[in-house]
């Protein structure tokens, strides 16, 4: 293929992949902007640190007591998950539902103080501006279908970046980096801006785009893990009789998990019967302590009747890939300055998308004008011919 043909082919790929995904990508960039700062925005909404101030050395209450307090408030509900929010130190969060089988989005959140075991807050997590932004950003309120669709748009975005790279070389061959032709025409100015901002943000946009695609596969990853490793780990319990009576102690289960994974800390406990464990086990997911190893979790399965550890394993690579891609998509792993940079890159991407759209319109207009001129001249020729030849 001649090089002109190759360039034309890449241009067509760039045009079509971009045209299809741009509207959705603009929506993702705009809704993503407040999401970057969700912690700061929530802090501005006036939520102080929840935990009560206590004298140094005050012992923590037992986890079993805290669970009891949460259940006392909602005697008809059951606990499904217990977790620790690292932004609310000295608190424990309980997620309760009408039954373990209730839909994933049907839950009540109760935050309990570690030292006093009193209920501090019951945040409404499923309403408000940030909730709408998050839902639009993850699945446009359309569940897994919407999520996977956005994943597809993300793949097109990555394809648009690759084809854009293939066009950048030929265009810039005769120019210096950073050139913006401001005097010639608005179209050229925006073409140069599009190229400059696009090429400068390549690495960030590719990483955030691709990790976004991986995030859309979370349900798929969960399903694969349930069918694979979780099924293997709980195989001996496959035909065991249903769990009845009082469950074993959470505190003991925590102590056992801590012994099995000494350098790690607990991140979440899932109750028997939930989708992250068997019908007979607490699964205590423990995590490392650095920003990276914090994302690599290990499930420790503890028999909720006998209170004994039955298995602890490292997660398969595809689960780790999902969890590592989360921070790389959110930009929440390097303090406020990183978030600000994330927002700047996000805005630069909005400009790249917007200018791309403008260039397509402007080019269309230019082509149409060109065609119109050709039409006119052809009419003239035709008139000449007809007059001449007296047809």
């Amino acid at each position: 293929m001649s090089s002109v043909k190759t360039i034309k082919a890449w241009f067509q790929i760039h045009k079509w992949t971009s045209l299809i995904c741009t509207a959705f990508l603009l929506m993702l960039c705009v809704t993503g902007l407040p999401l970057i700062f969700h912690e700061e925005i929530e802090a501005l909404e006036g939520k102080p640190r929840l935990a009560r101030a206590v004298a140094e050395g005050t012992p923590k209450t037992s986890l079993d007591l805290r669970a009891e307090q949460a259940l006392k408030k909602y005697p008809k509900k059951v606990i499904r998950f217990v977790y620790w929010d690292e932004h609310e130190p000295n608190t424990t969060t309980f997620s309760l539902s009408d039954s373990v089988m209730a839909p994933p989005d049907s839950y009540t959140t109760v935050i309990v103080d570690d030292h006093t075991a009193e209920i501090l807050d019951e945040p409404k997590t499923q309403e408000g501006f940030m909730y709408v932004m998050l839902q639009l950003h993850t699945d446009m309120f359309m569940g897994i279908g919407g999520k996977l669709f956005l994943g597809l748009m993300g793949l097109l975005f990555v394809a648009a970046i690759v084809s854009g790279i293939m066009l950048y070389g030929p265009i810039m061959k005769r120019f210096d980096f950073g050139m913006i032709r401001t005097q010639r025409s608005t179209r050229l100015k925006w073409l140069d801006m599009h190229n400059l901002l696009g090429v400068v943000t390549i690495a960030w946009a590719t990483v955030v785009g691709f990790t976004g695609v991986i995030n859309t596969l979370s349900e798929v990853v969960l399903g694969l893990w349930q069918m694979g490793q979780l099924a293997e780990m709980t195989a001996p319990y496959k035909n065991a009789s249903p769990l009845t009576g009082k469950l074993s102690s959470l505190d003991e289960a925590m102590a056992i998990a801590a012994k099995a994974a000494p350098d790690m800390e607990p991140s979440i406990i899932t109750y028997p019967g939930t989708m992250f464990t068997s019908k007979h086990h607490y699964a205590i997911f423990v995590k490392g302590k650095t920003p990276l190893t914090k994302r690599i979790i290990k499930p420790a399965l503890i028999d909720a009747k006998t209170g004994k550890l039955t298995d602890i394993r490292a997660m398969p690579w595809f689960v780790n890939a999902l969890f590592i891609s989360e921070p790389l998509h959110f930009g929440d792993y390097g303090g406020l300055p990183l978030k600000i940079l994330w927002a700047l890159f996000d805005i630069a991407t909005i400009i790249v998308l917007g200018s791309g759209l403008y260039l397509w319109f402007a080019r269309n207009k230019a082509t149409k004008a060109h065609l119109a001129r050709m039409d006119e001249s052809q009419k003239e020729i035709l008139t000449l011919i007809t007059q001449d030849g007296k047809i």
């Binding site: 950048y168 913006i180 690495a203 990276l292 590592i324 990183l338 940079l341």
Partner: protein, 61 residues
């Protein structure tokens, strides 16, 4: 051919490598690694500002 490729891509490649270092460094640790990520990811943004201002001025003159 080699030279043209290098001329076009040396700055974009450098900025991409810097960005990748920044994206990964904050994952691997805190403090120094956070600082490194702010610097390396800040440079591409400064480059945009530099060229936008440079050409913006050229218009006014």
């Amino acid at each position: 051919m080699q030279n043209v490729f290098w001329k076009v891509w040396q700055i974009p490649l450098l900025l991409s490598v810097l960005s990748l270092i920044g994206l990964i460094s904050a994952l691997t640790g805190d403090e120094f690694w956070d600082l490194l990520s702010w610097l390396t990811l800040g440079i591409p943004m400064l480059v945009i500002v530099f060229f936008a201002v440079k050409h913006g001025r050229a218009v006014k003159r």
